[in-house]
C-alpha cells in the first residue's frame, strides 16, 4: 500500500441477506483492491454429519431464510438421486411453482428493499430522478417499497396453499411434494399468479409482460425506456443507469454458470450450462474444487465429495469463512443474468460490457426473470391435474454418493451428499454467493465480486462508497448461505 492509498472497512454491509464486511484499498478516487469477508459461520455441514439423510430436508432449508426452498430443492434432488426416483408430473409442477414463488419473491425483495434504496440517498439529491427515486424507494416508507411488500405477501399465499408456510417448509420431497392439489387449489393458484402478474405489469414494467419478453436487444430496451421514461420501476432504473453509467460499473469475470432450474417433462425451463467466450457448454461438476487458501478453514483444495469443513480462525492467510469454489480452476459468475445468457436470451448479449456482467445487466436480468417465470408458473398451475398424485416414495440406500443441483434466485446451488451405513457421512454445500463472494485462491485470483469492485468510483468524503454498495448489491448476496 503506498501512501496515497487508504484502507477502509465497509460494514456492517446491510440490506443483503446475512453478514458482510468488505476491506477496500482506495487510491485517489477509485477502489484499487477489495477483500470480501463473510464474518458469520454456523457450520451446517458438520451439523448434518451422522444424521439420517432424510433429516436433511428439515435442516437444510434453515440454512437460509430467504432461499430456504432452494436449499430444500437441492437436498430433494440429491436424495432423489440416491433413491433412484423422480416426481410424477403433478409433483414436478408443484415443486416448481413453490420454488418459483420463492425465487420471484427474492427478486422482488432484492430490487425494492435491498437495492433501490441506495438511489434515495441524500448524495444523489442533485440528480433529475432523485425525487422519484426517493418517493418510491426510500427505505421503509417509499411508496413502491410498501407496495412491493404487499404484493410479495400476496404472492407467498402460494406457500400457504401448497407448502404449508414459508420459509422452512418440509413439503418439497425427493419424490415430489406433500400436498396433492385438488381442483380448487388449481384455480386459487391461478388467481394468485394472475393477480401478481397484473401487479408487476402495473408497477415494475408499466407494460404487458409479453411486451417485456419481446425486448430482444439493447436498442429495443432503449425504445421501451423512451416510450414513457416516467412510468414503471424498470424505466426509472434505466434512467438511473444512464446517468450513473451502471452499465459499465462492476464488471465481473467473463465466465458464467447455471445448473438449470425448474426441471419439467425431461428438460429445464432455465437451462444448465457454462458460458465462456460466447459459447455455451455443458456443466461438468467433476471440475469443481474448493480452494481454502484465504478461508479460515483447514484442508486441501478438493472436490466437494472429498472436501471437509474444518474451521480454524487462526489461519494466518484467512480473511473469510467463505471457501473459494473454482470451476476448472477459474472463477465464474452465477445469478439471474448468467441464466439469461445461458438461456440465450437475445437481450443478454447486448447487456454485456466488454464480455462481462455489470450492475445494469444483473438487475435487468432479475426483472426479466420475474416476467418470464410468472408466465411459466401460470402454465404449470393450469397443467396441474387434480386427483393425480403429487409424490412417489423411495428408499434411502445404505450407501450413496450423489449431488443435488438447482438454481436459487442468486445463482447456482449444489449439495454433495455421501451416505455410508445409511447415515450422512459427508454433506458439502456450495451456494451461489460462495461462488460470487469467494475470496482469493492459491493463484491470488480475486473472487467475482472482489474483481467487480476494482475501479469502483469513490466520491469525495465517502465513508462507505455508494458505488461499492450498488456493485455489491447488484449480486444480491446471501451471506448466510455462503458459509452456511
Amino acid at each position: 500500500m503506498n501512501e496515497e492509498t487508504r484502507r477502509i472497512i465497509a460494514g456492517p454491509f446491510n440490506r443483503v441477506e446475512g453478514d458482510l464486511e468488505i476491506r477496500l484499498d482506495i487510491n485517489g478516487s477509485a477502489v484499487r483492491a477489495a477483500y470480501v469477508n463473510s464474518p458469520l459461520f454456523r457450520g451446517f455441514e458438520q451439523i448434518l454429519e451422522g444424521k439420517d439423510p432424510r433429516d436433511a430436508l428439515t435442516i437444510v432449508p434453515r440454512i437460509c431464510g430467504i432461499c430456504s426452498v432452494s436449499q430444500s430443492m437441492a437436498a430433494a434432488h440429491a436424495l432423489a438421486a440416491a433413491e433412484g426416483i423422480a416426481p410424477p408430473p403433478n409433483g414436478e409442477r408443484i415443486a416448481a411453482i413453490i420454488h418459483a414463488a420463492e425465487n420471484i419473491a427474492d427478486h422482488l425483495t432484492h430490487f425494492h428493499i435491498f437495492f433501490m434504496a441506495d438511489f434515495a440517498r441524500a448524495i444523489y439529491a442533485g440528480e433529475s430522478w432523485y425525487g422519484m427515486a426517493s418517493e418510491q424507494f426510500r427505505a421503509k416508507n417509499g411508496s413502491s417499497v410498501q407496495d412491493a411488500m404487499n404484493a410479495r405477501a400476496s404472492l407467498l399465499h402460494i406457500m400457504g396453499l401448497l407448502a404449508g408456510k414459508w420459509p422452512h417448509t418440509l413439503s418439497v420431497q425427493p419424490g415430489g411434494a406433500t400436498k396433492a392439489p385438488d381442483q380448487r387449489d388449481r384455480v386459487r393458484l391461478l388467481a394468485i399468479i394472475r393477480q401478481f402478474k397484473d401487479w408487476i405489469e402495473k408497477s415494475i414494467f408499466a407494460a404487458p409482460v409479453e411486451r417485456i419478453l419481446a425486448i430482444d436487444s439493447l436498442e429495443s430496451l432503449r425504445a421501451y425506456h423512451a416510450e414513457a421514461p416516467q412510468h414503471g420501476s424498470l424505466r426509472l432504473f434505466l434512467t438511473i443507469c444512464d446517468t450513473l453509467e451502471l452499465g459499465s460499473m462492476g464488471l465481473g469475470p467473463k465466465r458464467f454458470m447455471s445448473y438449470g432450474a425448474y426441471p419439467m417433462d425431461g428438460r429445464h425451463l432455465l437451462p444448465p450450462g457454462i458460458w465462456l467466450n460466447g459459447k455455451i457448454m455443458p456443466v461438468d461438476t467433476g471440475l469443481i474444487a474448493e480452494d481454502l487458501t484465504s478461508a479460515w478453514m483447514n484442508g486441501e483444495t478438493a472436490h466437494p465429495f472429498e472436501g471437509r469443513t474444518l474451521p480454524d480462525e487462526t489461519m494466518a492467510n484467512g480473511y473469510s469463512w467463505c471457501k473459494a469454489p473454482r470451476m476448472a480452476g477459474q472463477t465464474v459468475e452465477v445469478g439471474a443474468f448468467a441464466r439469461m445468457l445461458i438461456a440465450d436470451h437475445p437481450l443478454a448479449q447486448g447487456l454485456l460490457q466488454d464480455g462481462a456482467a455489470n450492475v445494469r445487466a444483473r438487475v435487468v436480468g432479475r426483472l426479466f426473470e420475474i416476467a418470464s417465470t410468472v408466465l411459466a408458473m401460470e402454465q404449470w398451475a393450469a397443467d396441474i391435474v387434480p386427483g393425480e398424485p403429487a409424490m412417489v416414495h423411495g428408499r434411502i440406500p445404505q450407501s450413496a454418493k450423489v449431488e443435488g443441483l438447482t438454481e436459487a434466485a442468486r445463482g447456482s446451488l449444489g449439495h454433495w451428499l455421501v451416505v455410508e451405513k445409511g447415515r450422512i457421512a459427508s454433506y458439502q454445500i456450495i451456494a451461489p454467493t460462495t461462488w460470487n463472494f469467494s475470496p482469493r485462491d492459491q493463484a491470488g485470483t480475486p473472487g467475482p465480486v472482489e474483481q467487480a469492485l476494482r475501479g469502483a468510483p469513490v466520491r469525495h468524503g465517502e465513508e462507505t462508497p455508494v458505488s461499492v454498495q450498488h456493485i455489491v448489491r447488484s449480486f444480491d448476496p446471501c451471506m448466510v448461505c455462503t458459509v452456511h
Partner: protein
C-alpha cells in the same frame, strides 16, 4: 391520539434471517403500517434500514454512550460463543468485535429484550448436531436457563428476555409482541414457563388441525402426502407443540399440517434434536413412544384401540389416500 415513539434496534446473529423474511409477510396491516401505528421506530434493522457501514456503528455507539435511548432490542439468530468462548464465529461486520460482546453491552441498556425465533430463544437449529459454534439462546441454552446473558439477566423494565420461539416465527407473533411492548402491556404473567408470549403459546398446534377427525378415530397416514393423522407414523407432535399455527393462518391459509407434513414442534427448546428422525414416529411393540404426554398412557392406549375399532370406513379409506376418495354421506340429520 399521539402515540409515544419507541425505539427498536434489531440485530441478527447465528440464524438464517428467516424470522425477518417471515415478518415481512405480515398482512392487514403490513409490517410498516403496524410499526407506524404503534409508534415503533426502527433505529436500525439489517434488512430494512438505509444506514450502512459507519452510520450503523455510530448508532450502536450512541446507544452504548447513552446518547440514544433504546426501548426494545430484538435479537434474531442464536448467539455464537465459539470458538473457545471468544465469539469469533460471528464478528459484527465493520467492528472487529464479536456479536456476543455487542449483545452483552447493549442488552442491559434496553427497556425490553426480545429473542426472535428458536435460535435466539433456545439455540435452535444452529445448536443441532455437534453444535460446532457453541450456539446458544439469549437466556436459555436448550431447556436450561442461562444462555448468553445468564439466568439472572433482566432488562431495564425488570422483565427477563421475551422468547418469541418458532422456526420461523409467525409474522404476527412478532408484531403483536412489539405492539404489546409499545404499550408496556406485556407482564411476566403474560409469558409461559419458557417465557414465550402466552397469546400464542397457550394454544397447541393440534387445535384447529384440519386432520382432527382422523386423530379422533386414529385413522393414520402411513406415508407423507396422505391425508390421515400424522401422529402414529410420521412423527407429528402437534398435540404437544405450543403454537396457534392451525387457528391462525400462515401465508394466507397455510400451516405445516395443512401443507401435508408433520409438526416438528419448532417452538420448543431442543426441537432440533428429537432423538429420532423428524418424520417418523418411534414405536415399541407397535405403540408410539411418548405421545401424547399430557394423557395417562394406559388411557391413551385404551381409547386409541376403542376409537380404532370404531373408525368409519370413510376415514379409514381417506387416511391413506392423498385426496378424499370417500366423501361424507349426505344424510338428513333431523336437527330442527
Amino acid at each position: 391520539m399521539k402515540r409515544p415513539t419507541r425505539t427498536v434496534l434489531w440485530l441478527q446473529s447465528g440464524g438464517c434471517g428467516g424470522c425477518t423474511m417471515s415478518m415481512m409477510c405480515a398482512e392487514n396491516p403490513g409490517l410498516f403500517a403496524t410499526l407506524e401505528n404503534f409508534g415503533l421506530d426502527f433505529l436500525w434493522h439489517p434488512s430494512l434500514s438505509e444506514e450502512s457501514g459507519t452510520e450503523v456503528v455510530d448508532i450502536l455507539n450512541d446507544i452504548i454512550t447513552g446518547k440514544r435511548t433504546l426501548d426494545i432490542l430484538c435479537f434474531e439468530g442464536s448467539v455464537l460463543r465459539g470458538p473457545n468462548g471468544t465469539g469469533k464465529f460471528h464478528i459484527l461486520a465493520g467492528t472487529d468485535r464479536p456479536m456476543l460482546d455487542w449483545l452483552r453491552l447493549i442488552a442491559p441498556l434496553a427497556n425490553y429484550v426480545v429473542a426472535v425465533g428458536t435460535c435466539a430463544t433456545y439455540g435452535g437449529i444452529t445448536a443441532a448436531g455437534n453444535n460446532p459454534t457453541d450456539a446458544t439462546g439469549l437466556q436459555y441454552d436448550g431447556r436450561n436457563e442461562g444462555g448468553a446473558l445468564g439466568a439472572a439477566f433482566r432488562s431495564r423494565s425488570g422483565l427477563p428476555v421475551v422468547n418469541i420461539a418458532g422456526c420461523p416465527t409467525h409474522p404476527n407473533w412478532v408484531s403483536e409482541t412489539l405492539m404489546l411492548l409499545s404499550e408496556d402491556a406485556l407482564a411476566l404473567s403474560d409469558l409461559d414457563t419458557l417465557r414465550r408470549p402466552r397469546f400464542y403459546a397457550d394454544h397447541l398446534v393440534h387445535h384447529g388441525c384440519s386432520r382432527n377427525e382422523y386423530y379422533e378415530y386414529k385413522a393414520s397416514a402411513e406415508s407423507l402426502s396422505e391425508i390421515g393423522c400424522m401422529m402414529e407414523n410420521l412423527g407429528c407432535v402437534g398435540t404437544q407443540a405450543h403454537g396457534d399455527c392451525n387457528t391462525r393462518a400462515w401465508n394466507g391459509e397455510g400451516s405445516c399440517t395443512r401443507g401435508g407434513y408433520p409438526c416438528i414442534n419448532c417452538t420448543a427448546p431442543e426441537f432440533e434434536e428429537p432423538g429420532r428422525m423428524f418424520t417418523e414416529t418411534p414405536k415399541v411393540g407397535g405403540i408410539p413412544v411418548g405421545l401424547p404426554t399430557d394423557m395417562p398412557k394406559a388411557w391413551f392406549i385404551a381409547l386409541a384401540s376403542l376409537s380404532k375399532a370404531a373408525t368409519p370406513a370413510r376415514l379409514r379409506q381417506n387416511a391413506t389416500a392423498d385426496h378424499i376418495i370417500a366423501p361424507p354421506a349426505d344424510r338428513n340429520t333431523n336437527l330442527k
